[in-house]
Symmetry: C4
Subunit: 274 residues, 4 copies
């Protein structure tokens, strides 16, 4: 039942699970707010014990009911399920504040929310997620090149700023200056460190305009990737290579065309192709 | 007259309404500036009373003149019209500062500005607005997936930073740390909270570069959505409504198609159309 | 000579003008730095007098040599040329610091740098600039809709934050809160004002993620606009409507095609079209 | 061996080199952190001497084994290789802290990491890098126009803010104000300088919304550039190099052209090509 959500019982089980995940994360989060913890600390601990017990029971159940227990235990969600329980168990053994810190790790339960797609029968959401990740994967090589260029820029710029501004103006070391360069290049701009000398400001301005332009690159890559994912043949099987008109040779047809749009000839290849 | 803007009177009425909306919002805004309120408080109150009276009168008029009063009252703009009046009436009954706070709610009148499109006969603006919202709606599934991924990232990253930096460096609780993660991922970067330990800075750098890349995803989605909205048959005049196959009625053809892609019939309308 | 840059003398004149513009702006900028002004104030004043005299002379010369003096005087660059001189003249009549402030207005001379395109015979740069501005103009309606939506969002969000955070936490008035909303929505994030209550932080997070998504809209609009500017027939006059093959009717040709790419027929219409 | 990475020895040599580059940069970076330098200063110096000796030896080896020593010495990587050694040698001759500053320059070694592509046989990464740089180069004219517009905006806006806010609110001089305008337009927003007068805030809001829109331009340019780089003939096999007209030699055809668009000759190569 807990692996199969086609049944009504399975769906109710999944819905309950989602509520439990959200509930337990809320408890962990509120438990980290000191004033609330002072007031409701005992209640939070009790709730957390309850949630952990339930999740532990669910994990054991899954382990027992799985056809190949070891296969499940080593799968992605198997590991996440274990990590959603372990900190709770360990946390119970530790005293006071320590326990709370360990329990913070329980927020990893949020990863389980991804199962929400399963319960909602959101097949098309999964398709979209795959389109997104396909577009990203197709751009992996370009993104790697891009990240290397960014790395070289922030290291060189960070070191230059360290030499120009010096430790007395916040640029205390090269790693700190590289951190500043990343904060600036990504246009986050905390302002905890900022240039104060004219030369430093000039170089920072250059870095900002560079970052302004560089931010365009991943956007362009993803956009083109997404555009291609939507236009490539694999999504429209009907217009695969080879489906060209026998009479006039035109190969630009609508995906579901059955007659040539140019000369009216029947598209035979289309009818036999898969 | 107040529902129909094809007449000259209707258009003058609408123009007056827009001026009143802008005027009343300006008064509410200036009334919230303490030095100005001290000086011109009485004037502002009088103006607000006048505006509220007029808007209330207009609301009642609309209610009376509408064919189905209850239908209007429950429509989107009916509710907005009511909300544009209520806080003013309530505000008059409360004393001093309290009244001012309630009157702040009157800025909801700005939503009525959307009517500006009606008065200006900006049909094409409405078309553009529909293209925009269509492009957004077509990407709903992808945007949902994207927001869920963002949620998982900020919760995990926020918790990690809470454990690394701790309450003494501004990361006072998990919710606060998640708030910091959102501020960083979106590249807003207030700087009210910023990492101070080397490990925290390293993790923050990672989050920034991630955010830098992630910002590309919605942009890509919207861009592709917009591009598709412009390329779909309805915008290309050649395949405009009317140019449908005489035999099978199909109306999805390539812009320069001369034969129906579904049945092979010649597209006569195409050959005579300009 | 000063209107015509086809001659050698005209080009040298233009080059000198550009150097003078850059020089005079540099002097104005350095003159605003107090320590430098203390030291070299006299020199800066003399240089500024010299530059202003030269620009004034140039303006008079242009006025005299223009075929229609009044036409030039009212043209865009005629007004810019006048504004590049006036503050200098007025500044000379005022004493000390006052004079300096007025002279700051001379930076408007930078607009004249746009002439750099003329001297460098950068015809294709002008073409590119026109492609850019065409793409922007074609999106005017969508951008207007977008800006109205942004206006409504920042006014409503700003007011909500004013009510939630209140004047004691930096949100001193509705206009200030609206300013904060703009700073946040555009992901600038100075941090001079930032939410401090949990509810304020939650609403700010919402605004940030909204801004994160909304930033995608103008990008998408411009990208699609640019893509269309490059692909539409109107920029390649040769393939204007009407230039379709006489034999097979195909109308998809390369811009400079002289024979039909589908059937090899000569494209007659092409040869007579301008 | 050090120039040729097709042999096994060459590849091991390259891998060792990459480790050495990363190691030496790490040492330089950690050496700039004052507490670490206090503790491990001597160790860092020794390691740096060792790295510099090795890099110097490698440089000499490359110089000796290159077919044309002077050609290598003047090549891009030849200069980088020299710059990766020089500061180390100079640094050894200077005392204490001075030496450390000079050694910071050694981070230029990171540029050599680009060789990582050579060792990993990442031919397709180089292709991707070329696609990226081609897309950037094709947009050079547009980007120049864009940067000039940005320059004009930040100078005018910076000066306006200098006049509005004045030196007492952080806008100490025109160059500083221009720096602020760049920080704002690029949405970095440090917050070290921020407008405080109502008029200044209004103008800043305008600049932010402008920046918000302007950021779309480079993104659009790069996206369209990338999209075109993927769609240009060289990537579509049908019109690959070789498919040029037999009569006039033109090689720019539509992907599905069957006749030369320039002279009308049938494209034979097309009909036999796959």
């Amino acid at each position: 039942m807990i692996f199969n959500n086609d049944t009504r019982a399975g769906r109710i089980f999944d819905a309950g699970l989602i509520l439990m995940i959200i509930g337990s994360i809320t408890v962990v989060m509120l438990g980290s707010v000191r004033p609330l913890e002072g007031k409701y600390g005992a209640l939070f601990t009790q709730l957390e014990v309850a949630f952990t017990t339930l999740f532990a029971a669910e994990y054991l159940l899954r382990l027992l009911s799985a056809r190949h227990a070891s296969h499940y235990a080593r799968s992605f969600f198997g590991v996440i399920d274990l990590l959603s329980v372990l900190p709770g168990v360990v946390g119970l053994l530790l005293p006071g504040r320590e326990s709370l810190l360990v329990q913070s790790l329980l927020v990893i339960r949020i990863v389980r929310l991804v199962r929400v797609f399963r319960i909602l029968h959101l097949g098309n959401y999964l398709t979209e997620a795959r389109v997104l990740s396909d577009a990203l994967r197709a751009s992996t090589a370009k993104i790697t090149v891009f990240l290397l260029v960014v790395l070289v820029i922030v290291v060189l710029m960070g070191t230059a700023m360290f030499l120009i501004e010096g430790p007395n103006r916040g640029f205390t070391s090269i790693p700190t200056s590289v951190y500043w360069a990343i904060v600036t290049l990504t246009t986050v701009g905390y302002g905890d460190i900022s240039p104060q000398t004219p030369l430093g400001k000039a170089l920072a301005s250059l870095l900002m305009i560079l970052g302004y332009g560089i931010i365009a690159v991943p956007t362009g890559l993803i956009t083109v990737g997404l555009a291609q994912a939507r236009l490539t043949p694999e999504t429209s099987p009907a217009s695969a290579p080879g489906v060209s008109c026998q009479r006039c040779g035109s190969s630009t047809h609508l995906p579901d065309a059955r007659y040539c749009s140019r000369c009216g000839e029947g598209l035979l290849a289309r009818q036999t192709a898969p």
